[in-house]
Symmetry: C2
Subunit: 398 residues, 2 copies
């Protein structure tokens, strides 16, 4: 039951996909404040109380500058000093990728911080949200997100990931911890969960509030799966400039490249984590979750390895169905929590017969501890996944 | 003896400083390879065996595109598809900041990875170097670079830094380690030493080769020093867009803002590190070093706190002189190594009476264990500082 619409983050860059150029819109309020995702001391982009984005850039000799966000290119206007300004329609709460177009060139906004998504490092903007406290840095005991290089026996090269270690990992040097393996979506990489997802901040706050038990999170690259001898067209291998990997293009669909990542996860990542960190190395203390494509990888990998992970989360990544679990005795015996979520604006996943809510109800009826969560008024974007992690983290290893 | 030329990294962006626009130059060899600092699968910018940089960007409607690197703006040329290409003169080995100019807009190159320097997140390029092995990731026991948030009692806010923990920190959970406090330069931040400087990689390789003892490194932000009640013009506080902090502008020179950082280092950073990590908390196991402005902060802070740090390093940050150490009995008694370095192309610091070599000779004559190092054929840039760390790390805590 892969009711799945994963292309939102891809579809937004109009110059590549034919999105419409529209006029800059009138601001519904003039209370713009610099975005929290801006570079230090940059006043633009700014967001007003109606969640409209205003961008600004100096480009005296340009004849066209556009603000490319959420599927539309807003045509900016130039003042007598060559300063271009443009304002978007209201955006959803949370994080969005965006870019500028200057005379036909798609470029990052020099005022923003940069994030990896939509298959490129580029601009991102965080729109203030009513519930942003849960992912705001607070003066509570701090864990840390650590950069990890390790040798892959499968790929015969050094790989790169991030590990979240809770504060107690440092304070209590003999204690062992459970581990969540947490995966990003298509067009993203191992930096997504800590940068856009705010994993470390969410976990520190949850643990400090007593809402989650301390656990380790490992975040790796689910697209970097090319092995020696694989075709150059493989995910993670060299591709012609500007061309991005597409599900089904080469390995025959999401299932097959979940399989490619599965080998790396089971042979390289999990053994490396369990050998190098103080980990409780059994299925009851091992979880896997992911967003979008990472949720589909979680689905395939946990089904194919039914006794390996007791906790399973799919964030905007479809759902399990009763048919595939009917005879999966090992999965049912091992599983303690099966969590499925979606953004309220994700057609097909949030409402109706194919929603994660319906899926959870059917699974509960067959004895699975299934949970569903719908993120209010968000689409296939990071605010859905921040909230999903916040919910999921409170359910596991308890 | 602050023989000091710290403005190289600042001076390079021509549109702000009046650097010349020059024609793209002819390639001396057509063996261009994508830079290692490119985004995944991007073929440009590319570097040839003569160390020339070739950039490329699609900008069909633009009338001017320039490659802005090392103080010159190379005018690129457009083909019939709107693809602009330009080639620079040969560059020094190692890392350089650069940007593109599109019809008057200074923007990051969408093909490169982004780094913080010259007071902005923007494009960087690594030119292959004869000695790059020492900062190349290898399959050796890996430490990790960890992101740290902590409460500053001085600033009454959360601060942000990075800590390098050697592999043995994880493998041997009772062992305590010495600590080096390592600072960036003007216009840079706490990310510089791990991203551009490759600190973690250099240390892992050195420790694996038995050339350095395992030690911890803490890398913080030496410009974020504004305290509650300080003027808004302070370093690290809000500034008008596009304006950057300049030495002497407000606190009356480098000395004064070294003092501002000193308070944070001594009251917040060192206690936080010593309370949260397994550290040998005495002067004989404590080092401070920095590059450029960070070297000058090291100079001021270690002089003002003569019994706090046994190992002192100034990389392209001037030198100590015999006059200021003549009566500094406490400093001389505590100090085990005083290291001063410069790039071979840094006028005044590499050669002549005011060079770090001469300074080290004079200091040695008065009984200080002074060392000097000149990085061959590099300027006031990261290759000088990677090499300086590589040298300094082999001298300390032994």
């Amino acid at each position: 039951m892969l009711a799945f619409t994963c292309m939102t983050a891809f579809a937004q860059f109009g110059q590549r996909r034919g999105n419409p150029i529209v006029p800059s819109v009138k601001a519904e309020a003039e209370d713009f404040k610099p975005a929290t995702t801006n570079q230090e001391n940059k006043q633009f982009p700014a967001v007003n109380s109606k969640r409209q984005v205003r961008a600004q850039i100096l480009a005296p000799k340009a004849t066209f500058v556009g603000l490319d966000i959420a599927g539309k290119i807003y045509e900016m206007t130039k003042d007598e000093n060559g300063l271009w300004t443009g304002t978007s329609e209201p955006q959803d709460e949370g994080f969005h990728y965006y870019q500028l177009n200057i005379d036909g060139a798609n470029v990052p906004d020099p005022n923003s911080l940069y994030f990896y998504g939509a298959s490129r490092w580029g601009s991102g903007i965080d729109i203030p949200a009513g519930d942003e406290e849960f992912y705001t840095v607070k003066n509570v005991p701090q864990g840390s997100v650590n950069e990890v290089y390790y040798w892959s026996t499968v790929q015969e090269k050094m790989r790169h990931g991030y590990i979240y270690l809770p504060n107690e990992y440092y304070k209590n040097p003999t204690k062992k911890f459970p581990v969540l393996y947490l995966q990003h979506g298509m067009g993203e990489n191992e930096t997504g969960w800590s940068a856009q997802g705010k994993t470390g901040i969410i976990m520190d706050n949850l643990i400090a509030a007593g809402k989650a038990v301390p656990f380790i999170i490992f975040m790796d690259n689910g697209l970097d799966t090319r092995r020696p001898g694989d075709s150059n067209q493989g995910f993670g291998g060299p591709r012609p400039q500007g061309q991005r990997p597409q599900g089904g293009q080469r390995r025959g669909g999401f299932g097959n490249f979940a399989e490619a990542f599965q080998t790396i996860l089971l042979k390289d990542i999990i053994p490396m984590v369990e050998n190098n960190y103080r980990v409780i190395a059994d299925p009851q203390h091992r979880a896997m979750a992911g967003l979008s494509m990472g949720g589909m990888q979680t689905h395939s990998i946990t089904l194919a390895n039914p006794t390996t992970f007791a906790y399973v989360g799919m964030f905007s990544g479809g759902s399990f169905n009763t048919e595939e679990l009917k005879d999966a005795a090992d999965f049912k015996k091992t599983n303690k929590v099966l969590f499925m979520s979606a953004g309220g604006r994700e057609t097909g996943m949030a409402e109706g017969d194919r929603s994660v809510v319906k899926a959870a109800e059917s699974l509960k009826a067959m004895g699975i501890n299934a949970h569903s969560y719908i993120s209010p008024e968000t689409a296939h974007e990071w605010q859905t996944w921040r909230r999903s992690l916040y919910q999921f983290a409170q359910l596991i290893f308890k």
